[in-house]
Structures are given as C-alpha cells and as structure tokens.
Amino acid sequence: MLSGGRWGDVAAPRILLVDDDPNLLTLLADQLRADGFEVQTARDGDEALRRLQGGWPDLLIVDMMMPRKDGLTLAREVKAQADLPIIVLSAIDTADSKADLLEEVAEDYVTKPYHYPELRARIGRVLRRLGDKVPRGELVLGPDLALELHRRTATVRSQAVQLTPTESRLLYALAANLGRTVTTETLLDRGWADTENADPSYVWVTMRRLRQKIEPDPNHPVHLITVRGVGYRLVTQDRTADAGDAGAAGDAGAAGDAGAAGDAGAAGDAGAAGDAGA
C-alpha cells in the first residue's frame, strides 16, 4: 500500500477531502497520502470553496451531512463552475431518497462506514475516467436513442429509462470511445473496480440487460454491438434498421458540424481496425 512512487513521473493526483468529523479527516487524509495522493482537507463547504480558489484538485471527496453548507449544495456549486469529479462519502445509504439527488451531481457514492480498499478502488476508477470526454448534456445516438449519462437516464423511443449506476458507468466508457471497440477487461474495470474476483460474465450479463433497456429491438441491436471475444462498441445510427452498409457513411454525414463528423469517421476506422485485429 505504501507505494509513494506509484504515479511514476506523472504528478500525484490531488484530492480535496471535505468532512466535518476531524477524526475521519485526519485518518483518511493519512491513508490517502500513504497511497501517494496529494491531499488537502476542509471542515465544511465554505472552507472547501475557499480552498478551491487556491487551485483545483483532480478529485473532491465530500461528506453529505455537514453544518452550514451540506455536501449536496457544495457539489452543485462546484459542478456549476467546473466538471470536477466528486465522490460522496455519506452515512446516508443508497436507498435514501437523497442518494438519487447526490448521484446526479457526483461521480460515485460510498456509504459510511467505508471500507478503505473499496474507497481506494473507487477513487482509482473515477480518476481513470478523467480522460474520457463525454458531453454533459444529451448524447443523441439515433432517432430512437439518446443518453443523458450524468442523470443516469436514457431516452428510448421518447420514453425515459432509468439506468443503474453500473450501467451508466459502462455506457460512459463506451460513449467516450464512440464507434470504437472497448474491451471487456476495460469495462469490467470501470464497472466493478471495487469487486474482488470480478468475472467477464458480469459485463456480458449487464450488457444483455442494458440491450433490453435501450435497444429498440434487443434481438437486432443497432447501438450496442458485441465484438465477439473482444468487447463491445457503441455506435450512432441515423436510420432505424435498414441502413446496412451505408450506415457508417450516414453516421458521419448526420453528425452535423465538421468536428463531430471527423470524430465519427475516425471512430469508424478505429472500430474497423479493432474488428480486423480480432
């Protein structure tokens, strides 16, 4: 655990830890520093905002219940300024009605009492996701499907469908690589970073269930494509089913502005290369 140089030449990730319990603050900060993170602490929301003025960390870990400014308000204010990843650490369990609100603004949610290795795994997962660029608003994948991953919802044939936290994490990884194949191992890491002995079947079954939720016709998927033995690919589709070979060209054309069209074209190439390799 005490591997100070685990981040190599890259600067150690900076974490701002906000909790009103001084014991926990000291302890968790020590644990995280021992794991090579650069940690700053704050006792409440206002102090956290003051610290943020001195520079933005890579990750915010925030307690839900704090005096003066609670975690939810703080998280919303921070997100309004920048897309800083947030992990909520809270004594409120996931069945609480407030947990849903928190998950809309936070990347992950860990209940107290936390298990440090699990928290550590989730921090790692959120940081790995940093490079992924997924639009914060709606991601339209075709006439029948649009995703709003930050709100964990999909719109399938104009019907809103709720996604589970794991489903939205997998879709996030796939959407960040739109058109390209994402390996099952990567997906397993994104969805089950905190699970011991995670098995590829978790990904398979979750994908199958996801297809039931978001594909207009789950037996003939057009958006969530299996690349057998390799992984999965999320693709845009501007026609419902009959596009066939013209689909790839249609994607690029339908994307609108030049930048997006370029992306789609590149994604298509990468996807094809991935297929050839398989």
């Binding site: 004594a91 069945a95 098995d199 079947s201 979750t206 297809r211």
Partner: protein
C-alpha cells in the same frame, strides 16, 4: 340549457274556441234537442186527433209522418253536429295533454276566443310552459351541481353557486351567505317590485347558510319553483361540505408529507450521528491492526461493523413502513457476496462450507440490500447453529430462471410454535436463549428479497440432516438470475 321555452313551442291545429261561449252553445243545443222532438210529438198528436175525428185522409197522414220524420232527422243531425263541435276541441286538448305527459313539453294548443274550452287550452298551455321552464331550470341546476368540484375550494364554490342560481332561475341578483341563516332577515314581498326569494342551505345535521335573490316582478313563483330552489340549495350545501372535507384531507396529507420528510431528516441525522463515530472507530482499528496485528483490534472493527449494520437495519425497517425501498438492481455473483459477508461477520470459530452449483449464473439484486439479507441470515446461522458448520448452497432453477441460495445451519432447527411468526416483526426463537439482535432480521430480509423480485422462505425447519445439510434450520433466498453467456 340556454333554450328559451317560448321559442320552442309547437302549435296544435286548428284553433280552439269560438265567438260563442261553450255554455251558450250547449244551452242552445239542449233547447233544440229538446224542442224538435216535442214538435214531432205535437205533429203526432195532431195526426192522432184528426184520425179520431175521422178527418184523417191520406194527405194529412202523409204530412204528419213527414213532419215526424223531418223533426227526428233534424234533431239527430243537430245533436251530431253539436256533439262534434263540442268534442273536437276537447279531443285536441286531450291529445296535447297526452303528448305532454309523454314528455313532449313543447306542445301548445292555439287559443282563440274566450270560452271555457279556450280557458282549458290556456291552462294546459301554461301547465306545459311551467313544466318546460322548470325542466330547463332543473337541467341548469344539475349542470351547475355537476360542475362543482371539491377541489375548487370554498370561495370558488360560493361564487359558482350564486352565478348558477342567477342563470338557472333568471334572477336579477343572487347571493350566498355562509353561517346562521337567521343573520339574513327575510324580505317582504311587495307587489309590483322585484320578488325576493330565499332557500336555506341545509344538511341533515346543520344549516350551512342561506341563498337569497330577487326575481323580476312579472315572474311567477310557485311552490314547485321554491322546491326546486331548495333542492339546489341542499345540493350546494353538500358540495360545500365536500369542499370542506377535501380541504381537511388535503391539509392532513400535506401534514403527513411534512412529517414524513421530518422523519427522513431525523433518521438521516441519527444515521449520520451514529455512523460517523463508528466510521472513525472502524478506520482507526483497521489502521492500527495494519501496523500492530492484534486479535482485539479485529474484534473492535467487527463489532463496530455489527453496530453499523444494526443502524442500517433500523433505517430499512422505517423505509419498509413508508414503502420507500427503491432497490437498484445490478448483476451480482452470489458466491463472492456470501464470502465477503461471512468475512465481515468474523465468525472465525465456525466453518463455512460454500457450494456453488449455479454454473456461473449471476443474480440480479441490489448489492447493498442483498448484503443486508446475507448478513442477517449468516448471522442467524452462526447464532443458532450451535457451533456446527454453516452450509451455503448456490443453485439455480432452469424453469423459473431463478438463482437460489440456501443457508443451512447445524442447530436444533426452528421450533414448531415459532414457525408461523418467524418472519414477523421483532420475532426470534425464545428457546435459543440468545437475547441479542434486533429480532428484525428475517422480517427485513424477506421484505428486501420481495422488493428485489425474489423471495425468502424457510426451506427446512430442521431435525434430521438431508442432502448433505447439517440438519438445522435452512433458509432459501430466491432471486432473478441471468446465464453467464456473452451476448
């Protein structure tokens, strides 16, 4: 309901009545009817007298017979015509009455003259017009009552009732006073001025208020009209009561929502205040144990976890009651979950025998809630297992596509008397002599399993081992399952 009754009348032809009164015609008819036969009788007498005098010749006989015949014919003819002229208007009136009684209130008989039949026709017309007007009023009242909704609130209801009363009864003005009807004095009716009307808003148990208004001086107002107004008033009284009840229920449900939110806040606070120190205890014990391995530190960590779980369980019970469980279904491997839950229990002197016969099948469950179920069941198995091994078997049912998890202990089983109450609140087997625990474990576990689309049952009450089980109590969790295929 805006139809003017005067525009919608149908006139029955021909006109009724004549220049002569019915009495004059009947009198003339009776006189003629009585005198003409008398003339005939006179002629007959003349004939008989002449015959007795022997002066009867053929010519005279013929004349007498002729006069007789003519008088009879004239009498019959006259009577026939008179009867016809008297009956025709009566028949017209009776036909009109029949149509009215069948519901066709638009029928009118056109009146000419001043005789008794004309007056009869006029009163029929008036009857029909009154019926039609009251029908229209009743229709407007019903529509007005139908439009009232308890959601409108008292003020809108009062406004609606006054405007409806005005338009339904063609009033000049109308107002509704809520409270004691005695507060509003009764107005005297002055001939030639607008006529005051009034109806009390009464319910079987109380008088809610009074509806007052004024009618044009020319408007007739009979007891039937008053009845109609009172009917309207009593319906408005009922509507007002409904609105009051609705408001009260609304206020109560708002209060309940507030209380519910307050309870949620309270539980959140409790949870936070208990879990925060437990988190520190747990984390410090872990940290210390990492540098100074000590069995006592492990016990501190385990016991603080145990306390945390009990707090969670109490929160879950409170949510069960308010129906706010919200399971988030994810794909989980039961074997891994069982092993983790077992480690968290820290029952190091009891052996766990985990048999996975599900060939990689995965369950669909809320991981947090599944953990609560597993902790409760494994904890029970340790508590009541008498130190023997706990056998956990994971299997699947191909037909129902359910994954099953059976937890069996080596204890003395569940006593007959306790089986029915096993899944109730605050129940535990008294014979076991273990006073610890909340007694909520099985109650909460079953509710959680059901909320996840599964079930929790007592598989075997124990006494005698079978299928390689240790022979104590065995509980089975069933959950929706998924095959581990790539797809």
């Amino acid at each position: 309901m805006t139809v003017d009754p005067r525009l919608d009348t149908e006139v029955e032809q021909p006109r009724i009545g004549s220049g002569y009164s019915f009495r004059a015609r009947l009198t003339a008819g009776l006189i003629v009817g009585a005198t003409v036969p008398l003339l005939g009788f006179g002629a007959l007498l003349v004939g008989v007298e002449s015959a007795r005098a022997g002066r009867l010749d053929a010519a005279l006989t013929g004349l007498v017979l002729f006069a007789l015949a003519v008088s009879v014919i004239v009498a019959v003819l006259f009577a026939w015509i008179l009867a016809g002229s008297l009956m025709a208007p009566l028949r017209l009136v009776s036909r009109a009455v029949e149509r009215v009684s069948r519901g066709d209130l638009s029928v009118r008989v056109e009146v000419a003259g001043e005789d008794e039949l004309a007056r009869l026709a006029e009163s029929h017309n008036r009857l029909a017009a009154d019926l039609q007007r009251r029908n229209v009023e009743l229709g407007r009242i019903l529509v007005a009552i139908g439009e009232t909704s308890p959601r409108d609130g008292l003020d809108r209801l009062v406004a609606h009732a006054t405007t409806s009363a005005r338009s339904a009864f063609d009033m000049i003005d109308a107002s509704l006073h809520l409270g004691d009807p005695g507060d509003i004095p009764v107005e005297e009716s002055v001939p030639g001025e607008s006529r005051p009307v009034r109806a009390i808003l009464a319910r079987p148990d109380e008088r809610v208020g009074v509806l007052t208004g004024h009618l044009p001086a020319t408007r007739s107002w009979d007891s039937a009209d008053q009845d109609l107004l009172e009917l309207f008033a009593s319906e408005i009284a009922v509507a007002i009561r409904n609105a009051e009840l609705f408001e009260r229920v609304g206020a109560q449900s708002r209060r309940l929502v507030e209380l519910d939110a307050a309870k949620d806040d309270f539980l959140r606070g409790i949870s936070h205040n208990l879990q925060t120190p437990l988190t520190s205890i747990r984390a410090y014990a872990d940290q210390l144990a990492a540098s100074h391995p000590d069995r006592r530190l492990t016990i501190i960590a385990e016991q603080s976890d145990r306390l945390s779980r009990m707090v969670r369980q109490l929160l879950t019970v409170s949510r069960l009651e308010s129906g706010a469980l919200h399971p988030r279904l994810e794909v989980v491997a039961l074997g891994t979950r069982v092993r983790r839950a077992w480690e968290a229990l820290g029952a190091e002197d009891v052996a766990l025998d985990l048999r996975d016969e599900a060939a990689g099948w995965l369950a669909v469950a809320d991981p947090d809630q599944l953990d609560q179920v597993l902790w409760a069941l494994l904890d029970n198995a340790v508590k009541y297992g008498g130190g023997g091994p706990v056998v956990v078997t994971i299997g699947r049912d191909d037909e129902t596509e359910l994954v099953t998890l059976t937890i069996a202990d080596a204890g003395s089983g569940v006593p007959e008397a306790a089986r029915d109450l096993l899944f109730g609140r605050f129940e535990r087997s008294d014979e076991s002599g273990h006073p610890d625990g909340t007694g909520l474990g099985l109650y909460v576990s079953r509710a959680l399993c059901r909320a996840m689309g599964g079930e929790l049952v007592l598989e075997s009450a124990g006494r005698g081992s079978m299928d390689g089980r240790p022979g104590g109590a065995a509980f089975t969790v069933r959950l929706p399952g998924e095959a581990p295929d790539e797809g």
